[in-house]
């Protein structure tokens, strides 16, 4: 017992020593809540994107957290282009439910992307705080029967507001003002990936 507890001078320092438990806990909570850790978060008080300290923490101790979450039976996935991390649950059991959350996120993002592209705008603007979706867009999307139908069958019974909330809670979308939303780097990444896939196909 004493051997285990007393520090050995010649023992290599553990990677756990480099991360504060409080920080790691905060990170774990985020992942537990099904959130994606993005590089920049929207600060609604300052109305600007600010660096996400948790992202930096993960980035700086990537190897540590990879191993750490591996031991917890999850996979820490890092996406360089979209600048985000997320925790992938093991897919052994309940494969159906396993994809459910991903699918619902994808459905909402795709609906937004499709609506935006149809309105003749460059998708790039969806990811800009000064552009994004405005009140009129929300009204137009909310009035589209087909979109609502799809949302309903994707278990968003309360419609668009619920769907946007779903994205917001996961850091895939930020609310930049009353009835104004824009996509985070992670949300944008999905649409960009779709475009790329389409181009290569």
């Amino acid at each position: 017992m004493t051997d285990l507890n007393s520090p050995q001078p010649d023992q290599p320092t553990s990677s756990f020593d480099e991360v504060l438990p409080a920080h790691s806990t905060a990170l774990y909570r985020e992942f537990q809540a099904g959130r994606v850790i993005v590089r920049e978060l929207w600060d609604s008080n300052r109305s600007e994107l600010v660096a996400n300290p948790l992202y930096n923490l993960l980035y700086n101790h990537l190897a540590h957290f990879r191993t750490f979450y591996e031991h917890l039976g999850c996979e820490l996935v890092f996406n360089d282009e979209g600048a985000f991390f997320f925790l992938k649950e093991s897919s052994d059991d309940e494969a159906e439910e396993h994809d459910e959350n991903a699918f619902r996120v994808q459905v909402v993002l795709l609906l937004i992307g499709r609506y935006f592209a149809r309105s003749g705008r460059d998708l790039e603007y969806l990811g800009r705080p000064d552009a994004g979706l405005g009140e009129q867009d929300l009204a137009a999307m909310g009035a589209d029967e087909e979109y609502l139908e799809i949302l309903r069958t994707a278990r968003f019974e309360k419609g668009l507001a619920e769907a946007l909330d779903y994205l917001g809670k996961r850091n895939l979308m930020f609310r930049s003002g009353a009835n104004r939303y824009f996509l985070s780097s992670a949300g944008m990444h999905f649409l960009e990936e779709l475009v790329r896939e389409y181009e290569q196909a």
Partner: protein, 478 residues
């Protein structure tokens, strides 16, 4: 083939079967020729009359016979060159045909417009040295010429405006083709952009410049200046009729500027759509159609297929696969600290005490209801107060919620107004050894679904200020 038709009948037949000439004019425009090859005419004729019944077919074939067309004056010349016979149709007939089909309009080019302007200037110059005398045939001819030129110009421009206005429909059609056949996108885009750029640069922009009254031309006056000069000339020579007519013409020309300008904006906007934008558009449509398919599957007769089955879709894109579910709010928080157990047991004690007094539970139900008498109200409140007298409480940070929890579902007929009354009493005469502290924080209570179903038609909300129940500071009571 001895039978002939009169000019009127031939023309009538041509317009009864306009497709033949439409196609010929199209071909003419494509080759930028002013004639139709006889062989083309015959080929079109054979092709077209195949679908017609005997007598009709014969009639059309007879009417479109080169000989007949020439005799009736609809073909004004037959040229023999390069071993083929070329027919030159009467210009009026061709123009009339063009008027019947918007796609056959010849777009106005810069050169053409300039031609018109130069003739108008020429007319003006001749007008300056003209006699303005009705008896002078030079002047009357010049006047007729002027009228014809101006009406020609207006007609030409108007046709083109109509044609340009259909352009957005064309865009939609073209981009629709592209999204339906994504594999041909590159080729399509090339063609489309070429077409549009030509249209914009060669036709729309020159027309706009031509019709802009503020345009300065290096070689002389612009359209409106020319027209105005003529109007002034005519006025000074007291030819007011013609002057007015010309002025009205210039007004209609001016009015044509706006619609062309809006078309120009539209085209410009379309051109600004980069390749990127179109790829994005098509990509979104592509994946959206997959989603639509999934949705279609839920619309089958099977009652169990209520939700989209997106497993394959999600895995195919791979984005965020395996993302955790959002935690549902927990109803009961379990802990293992001593304070947690203390709280749990004290709550259990209190609830047990409530249950032991079950026999004394006031039945408020009977007095509940709409138009109650004041006396009933008093009774009701009194009953509640008696219950509260003996109700045991523990220190809590939210007295209102605590009271609500103890009364709701326990006392039959309980409603929010009762809570208000109970609270009123608690604040004025707190239980022994306790004090009620009113904070400035607001909270909301909602009726739970069960009570909602049985007694309340709609969900009620109770907004209250949070009140703490604390042991009195002076006393040692816990």
């Amino acid at each position: 083939m001895s039978k002939r038709f009169s000019t009127l009948d031939t023309t009538r037949l041509l317009f009864d079967h306009p497709k033949i000439l439409f196609r010929l004019i199209e071909r003419m425009d494509r080759h930028e020729a002013r004639y139709v090859r006889e062989s083309d005419l015959l080929a079109e004729l054979m092709d077209y009359t195949r679908s017609l019944s005997g007598a009709d077919g014969d009639r059309v074939r007879l009417a479109m016979n080169t000989e007949n067309l020439f005799r009736s004056g609809l073909v004004i010349d037959i040229i023999k060159a390069d071993g083929e016979r070329r027919l030159v149709f009467q210009n009026a007939l061709i123009n009339l045909m063009r008027a019947c089909n918007a796609s056959l309009y010849q777009e106005l080019t810069d050169a053409r417009l300039r031609g018109h302007l130069v003739t108008l200037r020429d007319v003006r110059n001749r007008l300056e040295i003209s006699s303005f005398s009705e008896s002078d045939p030079d002047f009357t001819e010049l006047r007729d010429d002027l009228n014809e030129r101006v009406s020609q110009l207006i007609g030409l421009l108007r046709q083109n405006v109509l044609r340009m206005q259909t352009i957005s429909a064309q865009f939609a059609e073209l981009s629709g083709d592209a999204s339906r056949a994504p594999e041909k996108f590159l080729e399509f885009r090339q063609n489309l952009l070429e077409q549009i750029v030509t249209l914009y640069e060669r036709h729309i922009k020159p027309t706009l410049v031509f019709l802009n009254p503020d345009t300065r031309l290096p070689d002389g006056s612009n359209l409106f200046e020319t027209l105005e000069a003529m109007v002034r000339l005519l006025e000074t020579h007291s030819d007011h009729g013609l002057a007015d007519q010309l002025f009205r013409s210039s007004l209609s020309l001016n009015a044509l500027y706006k619609p062309i300008q809006s078309v120009a904006h539209e085209v410009e906007h379309f051109l600004r759509k980069t390749r990127k934008g179109m790829v994005q558009y098509n990509a979104m449509e592509h994946f959206y159609s997959k989603l639509r398919e999934l949705k279609g599957e839920t619309e089958t007769l099977s009652l169990r297929r209520k939700w989209l089955e997106g497993g394959d879709f999600a895995r195919s894109t791979g984005f965020l696969v395996g993302l955790r579910a959002q935690q549902r709010p927990k109803h009961y928080a379990f802990g293992n600290s001593s304070s947690y157990y203390q709280l749990l047991f004290s709550e259990l004690d209190l609830r047990l005490a409530d249950l032991r007094r079950k026999a004394e539970v006031p039945v408020l139900q009977e007095v509940a209801g709409g138009g109650r008498a004041a006396l009933v109200d008093v009774q009701r409140i009194n009953q509640l107060y008696q219950w509260l007298e003996t109700l045991k409480l523990r220190p809590t940070s939210d007295l209102v919620r605590e009271l609500h929890g103890r009364l709701e579902g326990f006392i039959p007929g309980y409603r929010f107004p009762d809570l208000l009354a109970a609270l009123n009493r608690m604040v004025n005469t707190p239980p022994d050894g306790y004090q009620v502290v009113t904070t400035n924080r607001f909270r909301t209570l909602e009726t739970s679904p069960e009570t909602e179903k049985t007694s309340e038609p709609a969900a009620e909300q109770f907004v209250y200020r949070k009140r703490r129940l604390e042991p009195q500071v002076e006393s040692n009571h816990d």
